[in-house]
Amino acid sequence: MSSYQKNKPEFNCADIEEYVQQYLDNVLDEEKKRLFEEHIEYCLPCDKKIEFERKFKEIVRLKAKENLPHETIDRKLKELLENLY
């Protein structure tokens, strides 16, 4: 192994834990994102955790949304307009 390869930076499982939220929010810089993805490519336990966290975010979004019916929105908008001055 060349010295270059030995010193080649790579992410370990602790790095994944540190950067998981930024990775899922898509705010990691290019270099960190690459290192992150290289790690989860071969580390199955981390990959599974990332998939779970991704699903968690999606579930929060889907289940915390209140679905207001169209009629309610129209009514509220009408009320609002009537009360503006």
Binding site: Q21, Q22, K48, F52, K55, F56, R61, K63, A64, L84
Partner: protein, 193 residues
Amino acid sequence: MVTDKQKEFAKLIEPHLPSLYNTALRMTHNQNDAEDLVQDALFKAYRALDQFQKDTNFRAWVFRILVNTFITAYRKAIRQPQKVSYDDMEEFFLYKRLDETVTLQEVPKEEFLENLFDDDVKEALDNLPYQFRLVVLLCDVEGFSYNEIANIINAPLGTVMSRLYRGRKLLQRYLWNYAKKRGYITDEFLPKK
């Protein structure tokens, strides 16, 4: 008689009403207060409409007004932020607990999330201290970027990130506790050997 300014405002506001109500509901915990909060915020927005610069982010602008209106109206209630223990704020909290639960080890962990009821998630969110709840709602439910949230809540980016990450971890902890309390997890907590 509806004026042009009112018509213009109604057109701008309409696509954002569901999100504004949704956020207000999670912040105030009840329908009537949420409606009052949105109403107050929108009156302020309407009066300040001349200050809104066209071609800038209207959605973020109106959410900023909503948040400011909330903080002013609920100042007394939120003056003393709830104390939160930062112990046990580990990453992958829920995944690790599910992994340690013997009867769930063969089941895809995502199933646990899918089987949660909307009300479980809403209740867990409602119980987050407001400063965490607000940031989680703005990011994970409403899809605002970190920068937009920093602007909406008038806080530095670092504050947004730390509240968001802590808020999500707390949310996982609450959901785990509900699941145990409500019998979704029937197992004893059994760490793997």
